[in-house]
Symmetry: C2
Subunit: 336 residues, 2 copies
């Protein structure tokens, strides 16, 4: 089994109140680089931060790494627009950091990165991959893509994305998306059937790389499990608009499933997704590192839900996963 992580950045994350994927905006830009290092090596090795939320909740990368300690899987990280160096080995597909989605053309590399990622996906020799992401601000750009595609019109913009914050700043995201649509000269749904246009005008480079990779895999009979929450559901929407008709798999966490701002069943129905939800049992973990998750922080990311599904499929008890998360957590360097 191979886990492919698309990691990158969008300046959208710097908008006040949008994301908790970092202690503050200065730290947040390092989060994807550090997440890639944590899954690759167990700890940050070049990135100067351990990604935590403003309240100190550790990154989901730690969970994915803990599972990797228990269930062997190959890991391939794709540079989907990193803004800061990483010591993790990465595949290059020509992606660049994304600009603020309120700009006219925030992802100028979307077409090229999508197609290079598609070729990469086509060339992968695996029978099956899990596909995850790390990009602060990514739920806002996911909402932007949904709006450009005209997905979820009936349920109202904002119903379609989760948040790394306990209180999903839905109104703020809607305002940002509305500004982005206006700057791009797009009406809602104007990019229906044109996923690359939606990605370039209203998305981020991680969505472009994830969607391209998934499409290339599916074209060559490599099974894809979308390992994540509403950003990966948005990848599913992009695949639908690229003409993919087969049923798709999504593996996410119980925290996304419990998110009151997302109707996961409705998303699954509307996109024909087979959804696997895994609960790591953090409520039985009795450790402050888990408290943020129980309060609704982070929720998902860095293929956490997929990794938990792999652990469960391998028969690894969630208590073992939790123990391993805490061992990895305690061994983290103090970079504060």
């Amino acid at each position: 089994m191979r886990v492919v992580l698309a990691v990158g950045t969008t300046k959208t994350a710097a908008i006040d109140g949008i994301s908790a994927a970092g202690a503050d905006p200065d730290a947040m830009v390092h989060t994807p680089s550090a997440d890639a290092e944590i899954v690759s090596y167990g700890e940050p090795i070049r990135a100067p931060v351990v990604p935590v939320s403003p309240t100190g909740t550790p990154t989901p990368a730690l969970v994915t790494r803990a599972v990797r300690d228990l269930v062997e899987f190959d890991l391939t990280v794709v540079d989907a627009g990193l803004a800061e160096p990483t010591g993790a080995p990465t595949v290059t597909v020509g992606a660049r950091p994304g600009d603020d989605v309120r700009e006219e053309d925030p992802v100028a590399t979307a077409h090229g990165a999508f197609e290079a990622a598609r070729q990469f996906g086509r060339a992968l020799p695996d029978d099956a991959i899990f596909l995850g992401e790390s990009i602060p601000g990514g739920t806002t750009t996911a909402l932007g893509v949904q709006a450009a595609l005209g997905e979820r019109e009936g349920s109202g913009a904002g119903a379609g994305v989760s948040s790394s914050l306990p209180e999903n700043p839905v109104e703020r995201k809607r305002e940002v998306v509305a500004e982005g649509l206006a700057a791009s000269g797009l009406d809602e749904g104007a990019a229906a059937g044109e996923p690359k246009v939606a990605l370039r005008r209203m998305g981020d480079p991680v969505l472009a790389v994830a969607a391209g990779t998934a499409l290339g895999c599916l074209e060559t009979d490599t099974a894809v499990t979308l390992a994540g929450g509403t950003q990966l559901a948005t990848v599913a929407a992009l695949l639908r608009h690229a003409g993919v008709e087969q049923r798709l798999e999504l593996a996410t966490t119980s925290f996304v499933a419990a998110d009151p701002s997302v109707d996961l069943d409705a998303v699954a129905d509307s996109l024909d997704l087979s959804v696997t939800v895994t609960d790591p049992g953090f409520d039985e973990g009795d450790h402050p590192a888990f408290d943020g998750y129980l309060a609704g922080e982070a929720k998902e990311g860095v293929a956490m839900g997929g990794a938990l599904a792999l652990a469960r499929a391998a028969g690894v008890p969630m208590a073992d996963v939790r123990d391993r998360v805490l061992a990895r957590y305690r061994a983290l360097p103090d970079l504060s």
Copy 2:
């Protein structure tokens, strides 16, 4: 266990008759990119070649990958000056392709890449790594570095390096090195105690990255096994000139040990190396893919000797390794 591979290029490889690490010079420039993909994925996925010698002997990368199928190890590929794209994930340390060693300043990035690789090595959290290389033409630049350092003066330049060709073109290499020394304005031994000067003026980017990585690891008590032949012995020489005094480990193949153009015992004595030699038993393999190795082609590369040592240490019979090599060989795409 982590295997770190430094992969890159030097225009020195294009000198007629220097290297067999590719079917022809046009193919050779893709060899390190393809080698990295073979160890990462089992086959080339972006590189347009399967590396073979002019007579069709398959790359040692296939052996390292076969061992990886049998003995789990983490893999980290460092881009040490690739000239063509690779689909393998790589760590960036600022290395650029090396120029012809007959130029005045063939590795302008040597200092920066050495130091960035050293930081990378310092940051690696592992207890132990194996360190290998892929760079066509690399034995000639290794000879150049030895000359610049003043190593092996007593035994005459050329005694210190092996070859991917059955008949080591020692005279040609000596001429090239003499031209390089003249162009760089260096006498033999002029860079003694100055490893970065030797690398920049007479080396290649892979030696710079390998030496920097090894130094950083050793500085932080990560054990290093130099997994290769005379190029990795040259890394040992560079470490000596950087002040490293501890005994060093080198793991190589029986083909290097049997090379009449190298006195491995003398090299080990002179550099205080503990040498492990592993014979994959290709003479019992009874397959054309092995014949080139038995005739003295390829011999080593892409950490082959280290991988074989890992297999032996794990109790894997060499017959199983050979079966796995052939299974991987038969599954290779026909890119000719």
